[in-house]
Symmetry: C2
Subunit: 383 residues, 2 copies
Amino acid sequence: MSTTTPAGFRASGVTAGLKPSGRRDVALVVNDGPDRHAAAVFTTNRVEAAPVTWSRQVLTDGRADAVVLNSGGANACTGTQGFTDTHTTAEHTAAALDVSAGDVVVCSTGLIGELLPMDTLTAGVTVAAGALDEHGGAAAAEAIMTTDTVAKTAAVTRRGWSVGGMAKGAGMLAPALATMLVVVTTDAVTSAADLDAALKEATRTTFDRIDSDGCMSTNDTVLAMASGASGVSVDRADLTGAIRQVCADMARQLIGDAEGAHHDIEIIVRNAASQEDGLEVARSIARNNLFKCAIFGRDPNWGRVLAAVGTTRAAFEPHQLDVAINDVQVCRAGGVGQDRSLVDLEQREVRVEVDLHAGAEEVTVWTNDLTHDYIHENSAYST
Amino acid sequence: MSTTTPAGFRASGVTAGLKPSGRRDVALVVNDGPDRHAAAVFTTNRVEAAPVTWSRQVLTDGRADAVVLNSGGANACTGTQGFTDTHTTAEHTAAALDVSAGDVVVCSTGLIGELLPMDTLTAGVTVAAGALDEHGGAAAAEAIMTTDTVAKTAAVTRRGWSVGGMAKGAGMLAPALATMLVVVTTDAVTSAADLDAALKEATRTTFDRIDSDGCMSTNDTVLAMASGASGVSVDRADLTGAIRQVCADMARQLIGDAEGAHHDIEIIVRNAASQEDGLEVARSIARNNLFKCAIFGRDPNWGRVLAAVGTTRAAFEPHQLDVAINDVQVCRAGGVGQDRSLVDLEQREVRVEVDLHAGAEEVTVWTNDLTHDYIHENSAYST
């Protein structure tokens, strides 16, 4: 149920001392092959962290032998020194594993704008290299946690091959991606091109469809590595399906553990004229603070849903809009529908359905409510 | 210091019983002429309330004799019945004032998705018509309050003429406009065309530059009326200047009374390649929940500022970005600058300056922090 579920991978997670808490903070995932195909999707934030700049370069040839990840510091907005530090981390990891630094992906997460304590980090990498294990996936997943309350892992097993993964991320969850680090592994026999296409398609409808707080991070990385160790050749469609399933599982876990959230909100936009329209409408609702506060207060305030929809450029007629919250049709044809008091918002999971009556496309986005705990966690994070 | 500061206007604010609190909830502002020029700026939300639809129509000929405003219900998302109710309100007001219903602007504010109790409202209008007074501006300003904690009025006096105004709005403050109702009056002798141009230019750099919570309402209306009662002819530039001053004053008051806010945050983006770029960057910061939580927590977390800037399409190079918070240069050239602990965030007013080093344009947007009180007010509003 982790990155070490597929054959050909070893992983570890150790305590280097980057986190004041003394918890695990350095992780390694190593691909022992025979293949070393790799692909990644990165944040689209133009202020990208040094590890993202480095890792983009590593992935240009579709190969990676290992990924080293640290929590306890994002190494973002750290200038030239930050990039040098990432390079040093890759070199140190490469030396410990006897591979080329140019095949080592680096991921960092934590506070922005602080340099990493490099001696602590490189010492931790040495320990992590010594701790690599075929069953090390769970420890690695722990080591990438920041404000996450639980480690997130997933896996699916097919006939003779599998896909596994780990993820972290609790705040700054927004398209594209989040303060999200994800490593997906597979022992399928595939090509670098198929792996890249499968990962892109899988993230498009999973990680790109969760939006906890509308904030996009500087460090997001979703990395996929294929070892070929199962010996089973898999076509692109099957590979995409399996990776999507693992990504969807982890995306749902991220929303379920979002900072301070009390409700997980599934926003389904039906009968949109296009996928783009549906996505714009769903995201507009997902980012509406007033709506998110209302759900926290167990108030089925559908007027705020309509007010959010009205700010989009999507095709629809206001007098045709329908809104249901947890199966109660609170808004019909742009006006008052069933009694809002019928809506039960006691459960953690909330479903909001908006019918645009403008086409045949459907889009789902997951978000969270906006709570006192979110304010608390995010007003005190760096202090 | 209100809508009745300029000559030629009477106003009133009375208790009709729309608000459970028993506070004033129906206001009238009447233009006694000799001119009845009027212009307005409305919400760009496509889900617009019935009064907005009505009032757009009223203003097409550049004339309005009166405006009737109610709190205690927005009459938004209320379908055909809602529009009929607005029409009835205008007819009733027109009869009480002996004017044409087609010259009566209607504004409503309060909860979305509920029909107004029309008997209560029309009875209130009758009382309000009887209470009209040359000094009634303050009472009118009280009657349009919702979650506002103070009434907002302003006025400027020039040589022989003046501009006055009242405003309400505390949440859903965002471009374009907010849950904002504003009435601006002047006794200048002008034309309908000049009044329209002056209002549009004045709102562009005032109400359109405040963004409390990124949420745009269905009811926003900024109405200007000119009586010509001063007998002083005023050119467009002077009129624009005076209206801008009144609007800027009230916009600042709206931010200062935004729901649950502890800090008023001035975001100044310097050296942008264009006004559009500067505005996109400023709004991106103003809508970043993590940044707004950090300010609430008195944490000068400049990394969140950079992460917000990085999501825009504005022209800039990440390694050139400078950020100052309350005059401390916490970020220089995209990296660590002065020690963040030097930043004092004890005062209510916070200034964030971002230098894009990409041009010569400057844009200022005002926003608020995101606090426990905001969550509390907005999770319990309709219940």
